[in-house]
Symmetry: C2
Subunit: 345 residues, 2 copies
């Protein structure tokens, strides 16, 4: 039977209603340091329920110097790669009774630093950085500095995907996964590859490219660098990159896109150009995005447990122990061969 007429019920009102002091009411309803006698405890709980008391989170954060907020920074929440990770992070945070603050950078690197500062201003308890790093040294240094401020203030930071940042990191096997994929494609009979390499300054993209090329070299295949085309890390980027590749002419029998959304764009571009996949050209991606599993032809790709990675990052960021030293959680990547690849004609 809530009776709250208007405005907000404060702890003081609850205390008064229960005939106890502010301190006692606080100890009963929020604090956990000290015991309160059964009799008073019950009175306070009853009063709180009756008045519909809801603690003012801002005041609590101020007094405790720590809020129940967990930050999550991604480039673009509409990208299924990030929304899968976000799903894991929110799941992990909500289990702990925490609330997720979502920041999106729109792929602007310095926005990440800005958002981290905002989160520090809010005394967020932890932050998960899911945007992949660039190779921009200055930007990374700024970000590292901001991370140190954040941790100095008592917050914790975890990253998804690599980066030499001073924070716990969930590290997917981008290099090894791409290398494994290359070996599978070579075993299939392919010898000439084209690569949609994404943005040249993105670490994730570069690692996958490197891993792929490494395995090619091992097998004695010279990567044809004119068949490596850079472009945006999106579906449309994949489409455009593929168009450029076709316009320039290529003798590749297999096309590797460094992520699934680009591979999706590539398949569309090939289809629009009158080419069949995999008959005329094989296509492979990376990530194994759940939403894209129903594509036809089904995409050969490298599976990453994205949601699990997000959850794990949340776990790291919310762990009790202060972790004297950045931890790294390696995540293995598994090649999944489906219908978009076939032996070359």
């Amino acid at each position: 039977m809530q009776t709250e007429s208007t405005g907000n019920v404060t702890l003081e009102q609850v205390a008064h209603h229960a005939g106890v002091s502010l301190a006692t009411a606080s100890r009963v309803l929020n604090g956990s340091t000290r015991q309160v006698g059964e009799k008073l405890r019950k009175r306070v709980v009853a009063s709180a329920g009756e008045l519909g008391y809801l603690p003012n989170a801002s005041a609590q954060a101020l007094a405790r110097n720590s809020s129940s907020l967990v930050g999550l920074i991604v480039h673009d929440i509409a990208d299924p790669y990030f929304s899968s990770i976000a799903s894991g992070v929110t799941g992990g945070a909500e289990e702990e009774g925490l609330v997720v603050v979502l920041g999106t950078t729109g792929r602007t690197p310095h926005r990440e630093t800005e958002l981290l500062a905002t989160l520090r201003a809010h005394r967020a308890r932890a932050v998960v950085l899911a945007g992949t790093r660039t190779v921009d040294e200055a930007g990374n240094r700024n970000l590292a500095r901001e991370i140190e401020r954040f941790t100095a203030q008592g917050g914790r930071v975890a990253c998804v995907s690599q980066g030499g940042l001073p924070a716990d990191t969930v590290v997917p096997a981008n290099r090894e996964g791409a290398a494994d994929l290359a070996r599978r494609l070579i075993a299939m009979g392919h010898r000439r590859f084209a690569v949609l390499a994404g943005p040249p300054d993105l670490r994730t993209a570069r690692d996958r490219l490197d891993g792929f090329h490494g395995a090619l070299s091992e097998a004695g295949i010279e990567p044809a660098y004119h068949d490596v085309v850079h472009g945006a890390f999106t579906r449309d980027g994949g489409y455009a990159s593929t168009e450029r590749l076709l316009a320039a002419g290529t003798e590749a029998t297999c096309l590797f896109a460094v992520n699934d959304v680009m591979a999706t764009g590539a398949i569309a571009a090939l289809r629009d150009a009158g080419l069949r996949v995999p008959d005329d050209l094989s296509v492979a991606g990376f990530d194994d995005i759940p939403t894209l599993r129903d594509l036809i032809p089904a995409l050969t790709t490298v599976r990453l447990p994205l949601e699990w990675m997000g959850r794990e990052a949340a776990r790291l960021a919310l762990a009790e122990d202060p972790a004297p030293e950045p931890r790294r959680v390696p995540v293995s990547a598994e090649v999944v061969v489906r219908d978009s690849t076939a032996p070359p004609a």
Copy 2:
């Protein structure tokens, strides 16, 4: 040249460093009510920069009784329907310098009420409710009550998709869109339809079903109710529903799934059952999810401007004027005919 050694710089330190009072420092750096002389203003700004001052957002929220937080409540952020909307909401909020708090319900209706209370505790300035309503009257009443508390406290609420809730709402033309789609399919020659209707208690699902059936009736076609199968509003729900439909046997020539992700599952199930789309059975969806546009066969569907809808909801929730009365912004839905539908054999 930041010199902040450790801990956090408070406004008091800035004021002291600049040789002014707390009030003046506050007015320069945050408040906007009153003017401060050019001389002092410069001194304060310089000191703040030098010390690396960052306002404590909790303290601000406490003193102002309003934070810079905007809530966003969805069922499942990994679902592209919601992540598209989320993209619009975050875009709109970040333009205003606000921060988005993401809550996910996991499709548990009362979680929505819980999350709204949490947001109220944080003195969130506004909330966008994107989860579709159920027809559960008691749950909706609780939610409406919580919305009223939230607005009484000075916050504003906007909803995406229908619901008789006391809040501004962006209302997509679910009925009309489904009806238009039905008419197009009838014009194509179809007379027998099966429907994957989603959960029976979900308003959005029911409205689309009603609109579809309404147009059928208008055309003198009796809906075959045994060809309406309910199931989860997800890809796997669509798959399972289609399996059940096939197991029961159907003479339908066209299958309407009330959203795209279910349609995706349906196409997969049909393919696994050895049926061709659209040759053996036409399939249509609803939403026009961007990520699913590259599906083959390309999905005939009803387009909703999801990201725009999210942005618009944010705009409503952040509008200046108090809006004496809930506003409704209608959103028209446009049929997009693609390859997954064809005249019946």
